[in-house]
Assembly symmetry: C2
Homo-oligomer: 265 residues x 2
Amino acid sequence: VIIVGEKINSSIHSIKEAIEKKDYGYIIELAKKQYEAGASYIDVNAGAFIGNEAEILKEMIKQIQVQVDVPLSIDSSNPDVIKEAMSIYKGKNALYNSITYDDKVLDKAIPVIKEYDMSVITLLMENNQIPESAEKRLEVAKRMVDKLNTEGVALNRIFIDPMVQPLSVDKAFVDIALDTIKKLKEYFVDVNIICGLSNISYGLPSRKWINRAFLVLAIYYGLNSAILNPLDTTLIKMIWACEALAGVDEYCLEYIAKAREGLLD
Amino acid sequence: VIIVGEKINSSIHSIKEAIEKKDYGYIIELAKKQYEAGASYIDVNAGAFIGNEAEILKEMIKQIQVQVDVPLSIDSSNPDVIKEAMSIYKGKNALYNSITYDDKVLDKAIPVIKEYDMSVITLLMENNQIPESAEKRLEVAKRMVDKLNTEGVALNRIFIDPMVQPLSVDKAFVDIALDTIKKLKEYFVDVNIICGLSNISYGLPSRKWINRAFLVLAIYYGLNSAILNPLDTTLIKMIWACEALAGVDEYCLEYIAKAREGLLD
């Protein structure tokens, strides 16, 4: 599973505070810790700072890139903000988080993705709406992958988000998300399937157990990437076990190796 | 999930030793602990003691029933042993663990099940073989449920075991077991679906993580009972989370209640 570390997000109180106090040491430390825990990308989000979102994103990127050699996931719903943030980004490996199938978004986002050779997370939303059924979500995915591929984005740099909605609102959201993952997995080769894991547990207490159980299901259905907390060691061990069960980890070789290293006690 | 506590099994070294030393205090303590942890049945197995299996089972049953008021799962492949053990069992709630679709077994087991009004675990095996495909296993299940029901065993007292075989031998065993659970769940109403959880991780190191991840999948596919270690608190929390995700725990009411009690930290 390709992990995007979720912890540097301005919607989290301690992060917002650190940004306000310009305590970048705290943020850099969190980037390092997530990287060491196995994150392939570190998400950076400054969406809570309306008006100076781009400026703060740039500062976070600068500070992190001096200290930690890990690709970043540039997290904003505003393409202009991502464009400005990318102007100071070092490297060709950033992740655009995220686009939707809306002309206003795509017209601005695609030139940025191409100019900076970015990977991209695409939500299965069209005209600001989430299609209800898995079938309709697959249709949006097909059009989106076509579009991105035509623009020169390689399939293995596309991350499709099936749209995980809260269990607390409707139990059917669990089944629809898993069914969408299954259909995406059956249809596409090479394209990645990602989700923002904590969306499933929104509105519930003790969210981490719901997140852990849902991730097991999602991996078995074909998810190969997730935005999550890599510092949750129980979650990471569940991922390794599920990769073995799903056959992603062939012959359980990785699982056995981790066990030998004492990482599965 | 209806839990059958697996820990009093003579194949476990410490249990074998306790039996040899006639240290029934240890065994009674384990029965109590498993009951307090939520087990609906406590399995008792003396299969390691060839020749005096029945005698030891009877002693364990006697000792446990004086101290702990919980139904027992009488675990033996030999119907004569179970018959003898049941002669001293108090109550009408024991679980026969287990039968297969073999005339030699059924001819002896069914009279015992009827005489002592037992619930019963039935393995999906016929003529000592496990059918390869989920379809064939469903066929065995249909015939078995028919047979038991004709003999007067109520549907809700039948526990069907889909036969979980080791991931370490073949990854396909995971898919076949889950597919069998799904088909059983679709076909039967009221009948329970159970498995011996640890079979999935046989031959692998750090088995508990594989067990935990597999149980999440099995519950989502329709399993409603398992023979497992109820003292594994991480496993129990994963069960509660998965029951919420699977909709067994409607509106997550149980999950929210457990969280309020501080049981999901």
